[in-house]
Symmetry: C2
Subunit: 178 residues, 2 copies
């Protein structure tokens, strides 16, 4: 079932992703072409207050031309520790720090064309400090009750895969009845 | 908060995605560079039998170099009706047809760099016919109890975002206690 690399047909470096088109040899010996987008990987943070409120960040996502509500997240720097990256992104985007970090799950967002992996953490025991966003990002954050966030998943206001996974996971974990 | 297109810096067509790097003007007037991967969009099918079993397909995913278990899914053809596409993909990958189709949710897999949107359907009243996979895909399918599939999400054996969303959604819908 595995496919073997044969040759690179095309390669272009972006600012943080690399696009590549490869010829591969399938397990039945046939050749096929595979488009791939290489991504450094990312962390995402489900930050939950003691009152069961979730931190969401609002930002414009150019690739889809829409403003989204997402859990805080960001790309891994080379060799960066996962929890350290999660702490950095939470602090940069919301100004919060957290005393407890629990790994929930890792998943591939789009394995049909990209190797982007997201490591999802639950952050609790939150404390508010000062946000320091990346100069290339314009971000606002809100704190919303989990039940309301779940409602936004169900009614289609939350449209980001990692955020939907985080919210559904927490709804199940907390046994939320809605 | 919106970002305006300024100019295309780079564009490369793949076999089904297009990689583009744009210069944009942020709402604060600053310039920034955005990498984007344009995708035709896709459907995914949570096919559930009357015994609460889920159909999963096993395939090698070249971009991540791993074999995955995923719900049946596939790219939209230009102008294709969503339900028609979902029916086609379910039939091609598993040989099953379904009498009932219910739209659950649509989401963006990776809005930070791609416009890929996935439309997730619940398919019930299943009937087994004959699979007819795409010649460029080598796919096997299995039928597993929802509780077992949920276990595979929790223990990290299922690593695909759309499949995780579908399974968590159904677990909540069915009120599965695990």
């Amino acid at each position: 079932m595995e496919e073997k690399f044969s040759k690179i047909l095309l390669q272009k470096e972006g600012s943080f992703i690399t696009f590549r088109q490869d010829e591969v040899i399938m397990s039945n010996g046939k050749k096929a072409i595979r488009d791939t987008v290489q991504h450094p990987g990312a962390v995402a943070v489900l930050a939950c207050t003691s009152q069961e409120e979730i931190l969401l960040v609002k930002q414009y996502r150019y690739p889809i031309g829409r403003i989204t509500w997402e859990i805080p997240a960001g790309k891994l720097e080379r060799g960066e520790d996962l929890v350290r990256c999660a702490q950095r992104e939470l602090a940069e985007e919301t100004g919060f720090t957290a005393a407890n970090w629990q790994k929930l799950i890792s998943f591939y967002t789009a394995p049909g064309f990209s190797n982007e992996i997201i490591h999802l953490y639950l952050a609790t025991d939150l404390q508010e400090k000062q946000a320091s966003p990346d100069p290339d990002e314009i971000i606002e954050y809100v704190k919303l009750p989990l039940a309301k966030v779940y409602q936004k998943v169900k009614n289609g206001e939350i449209i980001d895969a990692k955020t939907i996974i985080g919210v559904l996971w927490l709804v199940k974990l907390k046994g939320l009845e809605t």
